[in-house]
Amino acid sequence: MTIFDRPSSSELLKAVIDFIDAETKSDDYPANKRFKLQIVSNVLNIVKREIDLGKKINDDFKHLGAKLIKDKDFSISKLADKIKNNEIDVSDQNIIDFLYDLTEKKIDIDNPKYKKN
């Protein structure tokens, strides 16, 4: 539920991204500024993907992580500390699978094109 009207935050971001992309593609846009504006577009795309998909990914991994480390208050920091302090077996396939899936989901937000073909 949201009290705010459309366009949603995601839709507003999309409008900004489309505007920037059109600007940088136009021939009269200065080449030396294009690169920096493309970075702006990339950053806004990350924010948009996180708004669209981030909550579900966070919820899913909180749930899976809690089962994995047997702690209902799972956090990424806790998992990192357990690995650091040898409190979990890093050769355990469940840990490896969890971390692999986690990185895949992070890449889906940060740079989906980076995934292997």
Partner: protein, 320 residues
């Protein structure tokens, strides 16, 4: 900049038409000098009295280049060095080598088609030349073992207080690896596309020596293989350009060091971890408020690319 230009004009005894800023390294301010007669030079300097934790002082950087060049490795000639007040800084002027450094152009443009076919071999051979540099003239350069590198990297990583489970796992993985003992060599430290100047016919020059140190020869090869610099050509392990076998062939054509592929795997994984932590360094330079930069903020979200690579190497033993 005016003072700096005047300083350079006085030192060179020539008028400068223009100073063009170039993209810097970790701790370098780099400018292309265009002289009145249209000849070009490059000036690299560090402005801050505080040295980057990773970079060697510019004076030492110039010394390394002189020594490596005298051994016939492709490196720009140093014209003169300077060490002045904080407005001018410490640095050196070197020849500007014509050619291309932008990886995507080198990897894709038709005009580099011919050179691409022999480049992996040439890069391997040039690296072997660098690794044959006699170390007795470089006693002021730090010698770093694998264990020390890991320790240093962990200290930098933990200073950000943003624990990353994948990085913790990678550190554990690396701590358990058995490293082959090689004799120490001069390690370039940032040996990858972006730091190679390529013409249509040759590897013309290897630049950016600010991360040079004494260490294991496999470090440079592993770093070159890190997936972050394959620029979309993920199946070409050598910088998105070629296969490792061609590079090794070039390296071993003039070197007695025998390259063990399993050692390159270890150093490639180390390289991905190192790049991930450098991305964190960049992002936290922005987050700490010391530099307000969208580029540095954005690079914080590239950490996940290195995590993805690390997990592919650890889980699937996949180094491509």
């Amino acid at each position: 900049m005016q003072n700096f230009q005047e300083f350079l004009e006085n030192s060179l005894q020539q008028n400068i038409k223009k100073l063009v800023p170039l993209t810097g390294g970790a701790s370098a301010d780099i400018n292309r000098i265009i002289l009145e007669n249209n000849n070009e030079l490059i000036v690299r300097r560090s402005l801050s009295k505080e040295q980057s934790v990773m970079a060697v002082p510019k004076k030492l950087e110039a010394k390394i280049q002189r020594i490596v060049r005298s051994n016939d490795a492709p490196v720009p000639e140093i014209i003169f060095e300077f060490s002045e007040d904080e407005d001018i800084g410490e640095g050196y002027v070197m020849e500007a080598i014509p050619g291309e450094t932008i990886p995507r152009k080198i990897l894709r443009d038709d005009k580099y088609k011919n050179v691409r076919s022999k480049l992996s071999f040439e890069i391997g051979r040039s690296l072997a030349t660098i690794h044959q540099t006699k170390l007795d003239e470089l006693t002021d350069l730090d010698s770093v073992t694998f264990e020390e590198s890991l320790k240093k990297l962990y200290l930098v990583y933990s200073s950000f207080e943003q624990p990353q489970p994948v990085f913790e796992l990678a550190f554990k993985w690396l701590e358990t690896q058995e490293l082959t003992k090689y004799d120490n060599v001069l390690v370039h430290g940032d040996f990858r596309f972006g730091n190679f100047i390529i013409s249509e016919s040759n590897l013309e020059s290897i630049i950016d020596w600010e991360l040079a140190h004494i260490g294991n020869p496999m470090e440079d090869i592993g770093w070159l293989c890190v997936r972050s610099w394959r620029f979309g050509n993920v199946h070409k392990r050598v910088g998105g350009l070629g296969d490792l076998e061609e590079l090794i062939e070039g390296y071993e054509s003039i070197s007695n060091i025998k390259i063990d592929m399993s050692q390159i795997d270890i150093w490639q994984l180390f390289g991905s971890l190192r790049w991930g932590i450098i991305c964190m360094m960049q992002a936290f330079a922005h987050l700490s408020g010391s530099i307000n930069s969208i580029e540095k903020a954005a690079i914080g979200r590239r950490v996940s690319e290195t995590e993805y690579d690390l997990m592919n190497m650890i889980k699937h033993n996949n180094f491509l």
